[in-house]
């Protein structure tokens, strides 16, 4: 049984169909990168996995439990807010814009979830938060407020915040896209370390080299569908679909083009 199983996933915003039938399995320990042009549905797919985005059709199963709904007879009904929250607690998410809580210190950002959601004793939660801060190299920033930190530091705190919930799965939504170029490396280093520790992760990314380095599998999406998937070697160096080739050509060639 894969850790993540997605079947027949569709997502519509009004008349626009952003996801048009996605089937995907991700196994425990696997690192999967999703690439593709903007508007191809990558982020929407990621958000449906923890039900921050609600599928219009189809189902997502994580760790054996159906996300956001339960089957009653032959119908599916929405889960209560509480049950859904419990499911989300086991799925970490890192956002493009960090989304740290600006009114709380770095330490408080990290320990809030464990204390309020998992009911971990405050002293233990603090200990765990400090350990995570050391792990992302920010032990000296525990008392700082998010806006005193650089983007790269904020994103490392956001990763620590997600890890504090001890998730089985981590979702990265363009985690480095909002960063100044010189700050990208420090965030990728933290993600790479996490990958080497065996965390199951799904990354939506524009960092092609990084995707090639750490992924077990790369998925190319376009127009709400998975066009092609395979080991990074194959996708980056021997793609079989013309659309994949065109996308990679456009992305890897960073020179200015004549209009």
């Amino acid at each position: 049984m894969p850790l993540v199983r997605i079947r027949g996933l569709h997502k519509r915003f009004g008349a626009v169909e952003v996801l048009r039938g996605i089937d995907l399995d991700v196994h425990a320990g696997e690192k999967v990168s999703i690439i593709g042009p903007s508007g191809s549905g990558k982020t929407t797919l990621l958000r449906c996995i923890n039900y921050i985005g609600q599928p219009s059709e189809g189902h997502v199963t994580v760790n054996g439990s159906l996300i956001g709904e339960k089957s009653v007879g032959d119908r599916f009904v929405a889960l209560s807010d509480r049950s859904l929250a419990r499911q989300r607690a086991g799925i970490g998410m890192v956002f493009q814009r960090f989304n740290l809580f600006p009114h709380l210190t770095v330490l408080r950002n990290i320990e809030l979830g464990p204390v309020k959601v998992l009911k971990v004793a405050p002293a233990e939660a603090r200990e765990r938060a400090l350990t995570l801060l050391r792990k992302v190299g920010l032990a000296d920033k525990a008392a700082a407020y998010p806006e005193m930190l650089s983007g790269g530091q904020q994103q490392r705190v956001a990763i620590a915040r997600a890890l504090a919930m001890q998730p089985k799965l981590m979702l990265f939504d363009e985690a480095t896209s909002a960063l100044d170029p010189e700050l990208v490396g420090e965030v990728l280093a933290v993600i790479a370390q996490l990958a080497s520790e065996g965390m199951t992760m799904i990354l939506v990314t524009h960092e092609m080299q990084f995707a090639e380095d750490i992924s077990d599998r790369v998925i190319f999406m376009d127009h709400g569908k998975i066009v092609e998937q395979g080991p990074p070697d194959q996708i980056f160096h021997a793609p079989t679909h013309e659309r994949t080739r065109a996308f990679l050509r456009a992305v890897l060639d960073r020179r200015a083009k004549p209009l």
Partner: protein, 200 residues
């Protein structure tokens, strides 16, 4: 009495305002409709009319409230309706990414509101809250109309007894000013405190 009526109805207003704003921003259409109806009714009817209905109207069908509880209910319900819009604006001003981040670490929508959204919204609505509190302080003079023995009621009684109207009314104005100014000062210091983590 003015202080008790003001403080009491301020607390009632905030509680009602937060609950009603929570309903107004919830996913449930029923809750949204209740909040909408509540706000429209209590905002549209003048506070004096509401006080009369609560004090005399309810009295005529056998629900006798003393003047002070009647004033608390009246000002509380009215204030709650006004603050609903204030809180709703404050909640709306918080980036939705904040709620998403809270949900992603396993909070339910109510926890996200309580721990993440409201504390940030509070900072935004603080100036409006101060304004509301000072307005309330003055509006409680209307409670004299239902014979609640607050400041204006006492002043009127005193005028009737002594016929020194200019002096007494100026004194009354000074009393209100003396109560408003500490409120403004308190608000300023609260705003400064809640600015932690935000460059102004």
């Amino acid at each position: 009495m003015t202080v008790i009526v003001t403080a009491g109805s301020f607390v009632v207003s905030i509680v009602l305002g937060i609950i009603s704003a929570g309903c107004a921003t919830s996913r449930s259409p029923v809750l949204r409709a209740i909040s909408y109806a509540y706000v429209e009714v209590f905002r549209a009817v003048p506070i004096l009319t509401q006080l009369f209905i609560i004090y005399f109207g309810l009295g005529s069908i056998g629900i006798k409230l003393n003047p002070i509880p009647a004033a608390l209910v009246g000002f509380g319900l009215n204030g709650g309706a006004n603050l609903t819009e204030v809180f709703r604006g404050g909640i709306g001003a918080i980036d939705h990414g904040q709620t998403e981040a809270a949900l992603s670490i396993g909070m339910n929508p109510l926890m996200a509101l309580r721990y993440i959204v409201l504390p940030q919204a509070f900072r935004i609505v603080l100036p409006s809250l101060t304004n509301f509190a000072i307005g309330l302080l003055k509006d409680t003079s209307l409670a004299s109309a239902v014979a609640a023995p607050e400041l204006s009621f006492d002043a009127n009684t005193l005028v009737e007894r002594t016929f020194q109207s200019p002096e007494i009314y100026i004194l009354l104005a000074l009393f209100y000013l003396a109560m408003s100014l500490p409120l403004s000062a308190l608000a300023t210091s609260l705003e400064r405190r809640s600015a932690r983590g935000h460059r102004a």
